[in-house]
Each structure stands twice: as C-alpha cells, then as structure tokens.
Amino acid sequence: MGAYSITYFILYLLPGDPLSIMLSASGMEIDALSPEQLAKAKAYYGLDQGLLERYVNLLLGVLQGDLGQSLTLNRPVTAILAERLPQTLALAGFAIVLSLIGGVGLAYLAAYVRWQPLKTALSRLPALGFSVPVFWMGLLLIQIFAFGLGWFPATGSTGFDSLVLPAVTLAIPSAAVYAQVLQRGFQDVWREPYIVTAYAKGLSRAQVQARHGLRNAALPLLTLIGLQVGNTVSGAVLVETIFARNGVGRLVQEAVLRQDIPLVLAVVTVSAAAFVLVNLLVDLLYPILDPRITHAPKVS
C-alpha cells in the first residue's frame, strides 16, 4: 500500500503534464485536440479530479483487484498481468533456487577448504559475481552456450530448455551476495567461543562446521533472501529483455518506453506486494532457525 502510494506520487506528481504523456502514449497529439476533447480526455483519465481524490479512487480500485486500464494496449491491466506473470514466476523461482544452492554451496566450500590459494580464490569469487552486470553475463552465456556449444536456445519462452540460461543469469548476482554474506557469517562464527567448546568435545572439523557453524552463520542470510527478491525482480526486467521472454519484466520495459503510466504503476505495486509477502514468510521462518527470537523474554 505504501509502495503504491509512493509510486503513484512519483508517477503523477513529478511530470509537468501527465495528460500530455498519457495522450501521446495513446497515440494522440495534445496540440491536435480541441478544448472540449481535452476536457473529455481529462475526464476519461480521471485527471479532472483533484490529486488526492483521484488517489483515493485508484487505491480503492486496487483494493478490489482493479489495477486500471492500460493506455497502450487498451486492456485491463489485471488481465495483462495474469497472462505474463506465470512466465516470470517460473523464471524467478528457478533462479532463487539456483542462487541459494550456488551461494550456500560456494560459501560452505570456501569455509571448509584449508588450502590457502584455493580458499582465497573461492572467497574472491562472490565479489566478481556481483561486479558483473546481469545483461552482460546474459550475453556472455548466450555467446558460449547457445552460439558456441549449442546446448540451449538463445531466446524464447517455451519449454524448460529456454529457462536454463535466463535463470542462471539471474541467479549469479544473488548467489554471489549469499555466498559473500555466508562466508562472512562463517568467519564470524569461527571466532565464537562455542566453536572451541565443540572442538573440545572431540568433534571433527566437518562435524563442527555442519552442526555448530552452518546454522549460526546462516542466520543473517535469511533476512537477505527476503531483500534479494527485489533484486531478482529488477534482474528479471533485464534478463527477459535479453532472452526475449514474454514476462512481466519485458512488459514493464515496454511500458516505460511507451510511458504507459497505469501499467508501470501496476507492475511496481505487484512486485512490492510480492516483496512484502516473501519477507513475511521469512519472518515466520526465523524463529524455527533461531530459538532466541521466540523464547526471548521482553526484559531489558
């Protein structure tokens, strides 16, 4: 809701003349219209109402599941979203799974390996991972795996094959962030006195890491997974553009190019809602991993 409001004010307050943007988006020139036509257009887009009044009306619409009408496609925004969303959800879901496996695996390995050169190399890898722009990584993967080796199709949105390259592209930056945070988590946990206690029991290094290290090191990761959803959505915009996939990301790119305000507003709102939802899930998961959260008596 807050996200919707902020985006609303950005989209309707910042531009000098929303009407002209909207009209040109619908393929009309503002100068070509007569004053009556202008007034009619204004009423049509609801721009004759005051800023706040219109805001309240739109917000009520959103609460009832009505996100308005697209200017360029002349269809209800909800219908367009329903059509495009599954594509993006499949991509994002697959990418999140891949990034968790990759990120956690890398960090776990880096913490376990003791041969210094390999350890250093592994711990530098994440920094490289998020220095690489998503779109460039996408192009590189296409060049190697689609054109070079011919394993996967370069573009398109049909079948599992076409999902692999985009999902890998999308997963790399997130995986790098997870790996980095988890590595730091391990570094910190490794210094904790309870690790010494665990060693003193006679546990081996592998046992100490699995039983006492991982869970404590992974705690900061959980919050991060929630925050990374936003980045995954951002990445989806770029990835879908490169791989020519018909998802929400490409939809929003096109909408921005055509300045289709209601459509942009709707996509931002939906992704913010997804963000809130995932973070809620994370909050619910937290007490399972960290007993201190539920049991902590509120005395200070």
Binding site: E192, Y194, Y199, A200, G202, L203, S204, H212, R292, V299
Partner: protein
Amino acid sequence: MSRLIDVQDLRVSYHSAGRVTEAVRGVSFHLDPGETLAIVGESGSGKTTIASALLGLLPATARIDGGVLKVTDHDISHASERSKQQLRGRVVGLVPQDPMVSLNPTLSIGKQIAESLVLRHGKRYPGLDADVLELLEQVGLDNPALRAAQYPHELSGGMRQRVLIAIALAGEPRLIIADEPTSALDVTVQKRILDHLEQLVKARGIALVIITHDLGVAADRADRVLVMRQGELVESGVASKVLSAPGHSYTRDLLAAAPAFGETPRPVSVSTLGAQPLLEFEGVGKRFQLPHGQHFQALQDLSLEVYPGQTLAIVGESGSGKSTSLRIALGLEQPSSGRVRFAGQDIGGLSWKAFRPLRQRMQLVQQNPFAALDPKFSIYQSVVEPLVSFGRLKGRELEQAARRLMEQVQLPASYLDRLPRELSGGQRQRVAIARALALKPDLLLLDEPVSALDVSVQAQILDLLRELQAELGVAYVLVSHDLAVVASLAHQVVVLKQGQVVEQGEAGRVLEQPQASYTRELLEAVPGRRLAVA
C-alpha cells in the same frame, strides 16, 4: 608411574602480518593423574596459549617452535589433526572461560550434552536421554528435564557454566582444563561453582588444570602452582609453599597486589565533623516499567551521605542496583521516589540543561577503559575535552592544563600525542581519570574502575586514586563487586542485594564484623581466604 601430561621446554609463537610474538618460551611442567594444578599469570603471560596447546587447538597463526608436549605419552606437538581429535573430549576436557558465549545459541542444552555422550559411547547407545538428565543433576541444576529442553539464552551465567561442566564430564576425560572458569561470574556464584567442580573432579579421580589470573583461586584449590610471566615460567611448586614463601620477586609482587594476601593499604581517615554532605540520598527508589504492565524494582529506599574528601562504596553483585544508584546521582535516571541532593541542592527533577553547571563539580570514571576513550581522539583531545566543552581554557593554557593533568595521573606528557589503541588498559584508565579531573570536580563517581584490569595494574590504579584523594581532597563514590577493592579505598560502605540495602556503615566495621549473613557470604567468597586464615 606414567604421567598424564609432560611438557618439556615448550616454545610457541604467533605469526601475523609478518610480526612474530613469542607467547610461550621454554616452559616445562608435568601433571600426574588426579592432581590439581593451577597456572597463574596476568594477561599476556601465555597461560591461555598453554591451555590451547594441551587441547591441540592452537589457532592457525600459532606455531610450536620446539619442545615436547606429551599427553598420556602421545607427543601432540606435531601430531596430526586426527590423532589430536582422538584425545579431545575423551582424555582432555575443557571448561571454557566465558559461559555466556561458549554454548551454541541455536541448539538445546540437552542436544549439546548428548553430542559429547554420543562421541564417547557411539551413536546408538540406549541410555542417552537418561544420562543427559543424570549429568545435569550431577552438576547441580534443578529440574533437569526442563533444562535439557531449554536453550542457552534461557539460563543464567552460572547455570550455563554448570552445563559446560556437564559437557566436559560427558566425555569421561582423565583431565579437565578450566580456563578462567568463573571470572565472568559474580563472586558468590564463582565460589559455589568452583566448589562443585572440585568435588566432581575429586570424586572421579580426574586431574584438573586451572588457568587463572587470581592467586586466591590457585591458593584455595590447587595442589601445585605455576606462576607465569610473559611466556616464561617464573616459579613453580606446592601451592602452600609458593604462596607463603615465594621465591621470586614477581610472585611477591603479585601477592602484594592480590588484595586477599597483602596487608591492604587502608584509606586515610578524614574528619567529617561539622562538614556539609556533598551528595545526599534520602529514601531513593527506582522502579522500571516493563511491557505488559509489569514493573521492576531496581532500587528501594536507599539513603546515604557522601562528605568532601571521603569515599563511599556501594557493593553488590549484578542486579543489585548499584549501577542504577550511580546513574541517579549523575542525573542519567530520575528517581521514582525519595530525594537526591548535591551540595545542598535538590537534583531530583533537574533538566539536562539545569544540571549542566553541576557537572563541573561531579565527574564519572567508567568501568571499561577500552571503550571509554574515543578511538579517533588523541589522548590530548580526550583529556581536555571537558575544558573545551565548558569553554574554560584556550590555546597554550589548554596545553599546559593537559600536561598538568598527565602529571597528576603519572603518565609522560609525550603520551598526549598517542591514540587510545597505543596505550595499555591501565594507561587508558589513567587517561580517563585525568579527563574526569580536568574540571577539578569535588566528587568523582567511580564505576568498577579497576574490574577490567590485571591485578598488579589494579593495585597501581588504586594507589593513584588514594594519592589523588589525599592531594586534591576529592570525594569518591565507588561502585564495585570486589570487596578487596572496596577495603582499600572506602570510608563508608553500603551493601546492596537486589535493590535492597543489606548493611551500611563504617568500612572497618562492615568488613571486619559483618552483621548481615549476605555480607559474610560475600566476604567468604573472596578467593584466597583458606590461605589467609591458615
């Protein structure tokens, strides 16, 4: 007779960023089964390095440069990780230093103990749950079934230390290393836990190595004592002999500094006849509001008077309300009931602004000298800050004042140019005292001023505080848990327990003829009594 531990000419050094620090330099000692050995030393003496070496848990930066380190006839100075792992838990157990952070916060107590039992007896042995409960009971925890299901954060420090003892016992080792096992706990808890540990170990014939900075602990519990300084063995021998007739001057210094042994210097008595009290509490109480409509009574009906040039000590363990009373005096907390007067003026409800002029006459020395100085400020900036804040002095006068203050706390003026991290703990505490003295206050509030420091440094700071009082006539309010510190400074003593005044009066009377049983308990808990009495 085979020895449990045989260490000969052990040398260990730390290598980091191209710098080499020799932590242990040619130390030899041995330990027989069932014996109790205390390794005594101040920070940097290498005692903890020896403990880590015995467990085969030296950090990656450490290197064993030479010597023999035999545990049950295996030389582990260059043994493989696997063979060292075989010894840990089964032969050598550990009771670590700080119970608050030495248990895994995300595993239940029961699981952490069971882990040790499983390592000892194999994965599928039937009596696991029963054994966990039995161990919990043996180490003196009530309601073992509940404790086993709880997580570390739900237990107090003392209880956690008992759990750690249970973990060490679960491996049925032949030797337990206790690394400063109770220095993070309250004195009375300390005594109870050490008594219990001693008893459990004796009953099972387990040998014990106590690593400690406290000669008193060593004297009370050990058969033999090793005294270490800067990685070298200074003196060793039978405990009573070393402590009653020390052969080395360092041991003598340590003994003199240890409050329980030395003839503690007493404060010079000050006549308060006809003087106006500087600080006055009249039936002061403080209750804190908690969520869910509950409240917590931190302090109840405290009355006291501090006279110019005199020291009043507030003694108590954690949760006694001693810090709260200090914060009330400083105007950081408002009392819920009663009146507080400074130099005759009621300061109970003063705003920060109205209080400000009074701050020139009342200053604080904090507990932890490592956090009390801004790391980005040079010593000069720190020391003169109050003078700058109150706009008292400028330019050359300020520099002169800084030099004078450094003289007063007996630090060279060249230190003014340093940063706090270039100073030791004791030196930093001197700087903090200099800063508190900058405004020439009438009253200094000392919040556990020496509890973060080594014993010998403690003695020096206490000497300094006594000299400053004699010279400047400044009054002190001393908050401490350590009766020995109190004895060396205080004229008047207030003993607090859970917010209530237990006993109050002249220092000499309270400390020598305590009326309340709690005061007696506190006095008895001071380590080293066994020897002092004998």
